[in-house]
């Protein structure tokens, strides 16, 4: 089937397009981009008037929870949640049960994604077997099976020697090592940022140094080895400074942050709302400002979601005992578009942060509307103001601290590998309710 998307404002930094264009899709691929009104007739026409048409968003930090935690999320619901949020590619973290440290798990994920997924799924393999920092996984076999990067996310690689070896050995394949930076001794027992607010609410704090010290270690190891280091979920001003400094010295490091680290401060925890419990924790206004600055000046390369869906039984309990994590796929765009709305970055930069750079890091041909690329497109109304209702999320995880927030920018339609999801159509609405 052929589809033409007409009258939209197309922004694609990969080919320097920023204006009204029509996009012609043939089957699963983009066939061509034409000046407004010049595209050939197609079987189906999508009118994208007053909408932004951009490459489908690419998330390099998603927890799909399958296998093992299907009560929290499945590949089916997680990818549906992704397309609802405008994402057409998700890279899923290996902290499943069992851990994705072997070919069998990678193949299972890809098989499920093929059969039940709504968008492209790229698995991320574990750095060490069982993510226990003791032995390297078989990188070659995992890459052969489909892994695009490696991470022990959820945990740091506590053994510095093992981290060194991972950064060295992964050079054979030029794949990134995504590091969850946390000194487990410094963060032990902590459930929120350490500071004035943790004093007020009496919850155990996680000092910013728990992240900063590990970022410093990994930068040193990256310098030593020349490996490809990527710092996951940056939450502190200290990390931003360390990464900025490393980049200025030419260290091969990239970094991501997540929407909750530049939209929330720890003061919100005075309510003891467990939806605010996330690791690394939500920090202070100084950190939020530093992260915005880091996004603006290029220190932070990528906005990822760290989508961490949880069942409400795991959240509706003592703050100390509640699970860490935020269900993030369905609010990520609007929360990030906020940066454009407030003139911190321009639209082109936002698309680089959420489409182009993540694709480049993973070495995948996504995040572009170039003819011949996969037909992965998000159509967004950036004027539309809406109220978040997390109970309507397609993700099984309704755990969002942004519930009831008023945001700007709604995903109207998502095209994933040529398949159209029209979020205003009645058939899709049925799916939601």
């Amino acid at each position: 089937m052929n589809i033409v998307i007409k009258n939209g404002h197309v922004v694609d930094p990969s080919q320097n397009i920023d204006g009204h264009r029509d996009i012609f899709i043939k089957g699963r691929k983009i066939e061509g981009i034409y000046p407004k009104g010049k595209a050939p007739e197609a079987d189906k026409t999508i009118d994208a008037s007053k909408c932004l048409v951009i490459p489908g968003l690419v998330d390099i930090h998603t927890h799909l929870r399958e296998p093992g935690f299907e009560y929290k999320e499945t590949i089916e619901t997680g990818t549906l949640s992704a397309v609802r949020g405008g994402f057409t590619t998700v890279c899923c973290m290996p902290n499943t049960y069992p851990v994705n440290d072997n070919v069998a798990v990678t193949e299972l994920i890809l098989d499920k994604a093929k059969k039940q997924g709504s968008c492209t799924v790229h698995p991320i393999g574990a750095i060490t077997t069982g993510s226990n920092s003791e032995e390297l996984t078989e990188l070659e076999a995992l890459i052969e099976a489909g892994c695009k990067a490696f991470s022990d996310d959820g945990r740091p690689v506590t053994n510095s020697q093992m981290m060194r070896r991972a950064l060295e050995y992964s050079k054979i394949f030029d794949v990134p090592i995504l590091s969850h930076c946390e000194d487990l001794r410094l963060s032990e027992g902590g459930v929120m940022n350490e500071g004035f607010v943790s004093t007020i609410v009496g919850l155990r704090g996680i000092p910013r140094a728990a992240e900063d010290t590990m970022v410093a270690r990994d930068i040193s190891l990256c310098e030593l080895t020349g490996g490809k280091l990527h710092i996951a979920h940056v939450s502190t001003a200290g990390s931003v400074n360390l990464i900025r400094n490393a980049k200025s010295r030419g260290v091969n490091v990239t970094a991501e942050t997540c929407p909750h680290y530049f939209n929330l401060t720890d003061e919100a925890i005075i309510s003891y709302d467990t939806n605010l419990k996330v690791n690394p924790p939500i920090r202070t206004i100084e950190d939020v400002e530093a992260i915005k600055e880091g996004i603006k000046d290029g220190t932070i390369d990528i906005i990822a979601t760290d989508h961490a869906p949880h069942h409400y039984d795991d959240k509706q309990r003592e703050f100390d005992a509640a699970a860490f994590g935020i269900s993030g796929l369905e609010t990520a765009f609007a929360l990030s578009y906020h940066l454009v709305h407030h003139d911190i970055i321009d639209l082109k930069k936002l698309i680089k942060l959420m489409c182009v750079t993540p694709s480049n890091l993973m070495g995948i041909n996504k995040g572009t509307l170039m003819p011949g690329a996969d037909a992965d497109i998000a159509i967004i109304n950036t004027e539309n103001i809406y109220k978040v209702d997390s109970s309507k999320f397609l993700s099984k995880g309704k755990n969002s601290p942004f519930n009831k927030w008023t945001l700007t920018g709604t995903v109207e339609k998502t095209v994933a590998m040529g398949k159209v999801f029209d979020w205003n159509s009645t058939e899709i609405r049925k799916l939601i309710l």
Binding site: S198, T199, Y272, R317, E318
Partner: protein, 306 residues
């Protein structure tokens, strides 16, 4: 009037609410001196204690307070109940409400549990100590005790000494004293100082001798003995040497200073026996006042429209 159905913390109280509780407690203290120590205001009401941490004194004090007001007091025994069988906090709380409780007294090692119950339940929730957050009735009985010895709170110099970082008693007292315009000092080693605690309007001292100079009230805190193994202190011996309340040190305070402790005491760790049993000690008075103050809290909350 008290504005909330619950007593979650001193943080949530206005100064006039604190004074109302203290005034009401004064009336009940007279009841406790009578031959027949019982009054009828809570007849037909049920108070259920839900203690997830061991406690003898607070629970007994609440039990007596309830009984003196003619309420039925029931202990929901956590160690032998369904909680041990894996029941969630939410289910336990809803069960207690379904059993017909009017008040739930909760103590838990996790901060914020009373707040969680307050959102889940329609009945009055009273915080009997949550994690390192608050222990409001302890602070109220401490205020009551101070008030009976000192003219007023304004300008009163109070030193709280010990493990401030982990102490809910210290936190509630800091809120209460600062709300009543007292001058609060905290004396503690840097390892047991809460992050940015000075922003609560208190002055931090790491030297005990400096901190005790000319104070009107000295509040000692219980030191959890396991702090040593976590690296907060090198030894209990050194802690006593640096932060123990000795008769020698008490001389640095004003001559008419009172010495308080929420109990149970570790004699020879945070307080010397000569001080605990000394002339200036009001430690047992605190215990007696606890009943009157808890009666006042139950009585006032029973009047709040739900």
């Amino acid at each position: 009037m008290i504005s909330s159905k619950d007593l979650l913390g001193i943080k949530e109280l206005k100064p006039e609410e604190i004074y109302l509780i203290l005034d009401t407690a004064a009336g009940f203290k007279d009841v406790l001196k009578r031959d027949i120590k019982k009054v009828p205001p809570l007849r037909g009401k049920t108070v259920v204690s839900l203690f997830f941490e061991p406690s003898t004194r607070t629970k007994t004090s609440f039990a007596l307070a309830s009984k003196r007001l003619s309420a039925d007091f029931v202990n929901f025994s956590v160690s032998t109940s369904s909680v041990v069988k894996g029941e969630s906090l939410k289910d336990t709380a809803l069960t207690i409400q379904a059993l017909g409780a009017d008040f739930v007294l909760v103590r838990h090692s996790s901060s914020g549990v009373p707040h969680l119950l307050s959102n889940l339940l329609d009945v009055s929730v009273i915080n009997a100590g949550d994690g390192s957050n608050e222990h409001p009735t302890q602070a109220l009985l401490d205020m009551f005790t101070i008030q009976s010895h000192k003219k007023n709170f304004k300008g009163l110099k109070v030193a709280i000494i010990g493990d401030i970082a982990h102490s809910r008693v210290a936190k509630s007292n800091i809120y209460a004293l600062t709300k009543l315009d007292a001058e609060v000092r905290v004396i503690c080693p840097p390892t047991l100082t809460p992050a940015e605690v000075d922003r609560l309007g208190v002055k931090v001292y790491h030297s005990t001798d400096e901190g005790l100079k000319n104070v009107d009230v000295v509040m000692a805190l219980r030191l959890q003995l396991e702090r040593q193994s976590k690296g907060f202190l090198p030894s209990l011996r050194e802690y006593f040497k640096l932060y123990g309340l000795t008769a020698e040190r008490i001389k640095l305070a004003r001559e008419d200073a009172i010495v308080m402790h929420p109990g149970p005491m570790n004699r020879g760790v945070e307080i010397a026996s000569s001080v605990a049993d000394g002339q200036q000690s009001v430690i047992l008075e605190q215990v007696t006042n606890g009943i009157a103050v808890r009666m006042a809290v139950l009585y006032l909350l029973s009047g709040v429209k739900k």
